[in-house]
Symmetry: C2
Subunit: 187 residues, 2 copies
């Protein structure tokens, strides 16, 4: 799209299709080059779109990466009638599988790195990425907000630390240990 066009969409190219292309390009670029070198310029080139197309949708690299993570994680695969323990175990195993996908852990660690000094990005991360899971889990587990936030810190933090230290997803026996520890804590 040309620079300076209005934010209406070009015919035949609905927003969702551009988003999907940009998200795929974002993850592959972060996976290949690392978060720091995965600039919006490079991501736009990999997606075959203009940089302005990206900035029209997401005001910063951090906002783009967060949106990409929201899209990649998607809704928790919870089933009607699951017990609290089943819900929690499903959520942990789902998070472990997602964090092992190419580019996800690098994008996550990178956006945290930027967020530590950027309150606006923390707000985006918290409201757009964490809150949807937090509210679903508060409701499904019948737990207060501070307990669900604690569980999210433990699960996501543990999985990301393992990826950061080893470059590999957590092995299944350790994911089992994490599930058991959290289920004991859930009570």
């Amino acid at each position: 799209m040309a620079r300076g066009t209005t934010p209406t969409r070009a015919p035949g190219r609905p927003r969702s299709s551009v988003d999907a292309e940009v998200f795929a390009a974002t993850l592959s670029t972060v996976h290949e080059l690392g978060y720091t070198r995965a600039t919006v310029d490079r991501i736009a080139a990999a997606a075959g779109v203009a940089k302005t197309t990206i900035y029209r949708r997401w005001p910063s690299k951090g906002a783009l990466i967060t949106a990409c993570l929201v899209d990649a994680f998607g809704p928790l695969p919870l089933k009607e009638g699951d017990s609290r323990a089943e819900i929690m175990a499903t959520a942990i195993r789902y998070a472990a599988a997602k964090i092992g996908e190419p580019g996800i852990a690098a994008a996550f660690a990178g956006v945290f790195t930027d967020a530590i000094g950027d309150p606006g990005l923390r707000e985006i991360l918290s409201t757009q990425l964490q809150d949807p899971y937090r509210t679903v889990l508060q409701d499904a587990l019948d737990e207060p907000e501070h307990r669900v936030l604690f569980f999210i810190d433990v699960v996501i933090g543990t999985l990301l630390h393992r990826m950061g230290m080893t470059g590999e997803p957590m092995v299944p026996t350790d994911v089992d240990a994490l599930v058991e520890m959290i289920l004991r804590e859930l009570g």
Copy 2:
């Protein structure tokens, strides 16, 4: 110091003093500018040393940040005669306090971000930062390596995730919950 000098030390300026200045400058620069913008150039300027002085000691920014974290964390304050539970509780509370100090979480998250795509840096992180604690804890807790690595993932990962999401250290009641959960897991 001039470019191209041999790595012997200038008289009156022992290595430990330069290291201390560089480490202090590293943390304050990372705290102020964030990991990405805290380049070796800026860190050298803040420390009042030549960039070559830094590269003579640490071959890369990741190696410098890791050495800085090793220095900042220091030895665990374990006491003779502590029980396994006391040792673990001390280690967790010590980690929580350290990760709350200015620049530490930002440096940690940043080095992970770089390490995810850099096997050499992961090796440095693992051997220089993690292994000293791992071996002390394996011995003090009489636990196998994989269990101690799991505990480290949970404790450090949880504390860093909280810092990344909120920009604040974990509140004392949540650190208590973390200690209790881990002590139950330790058995």
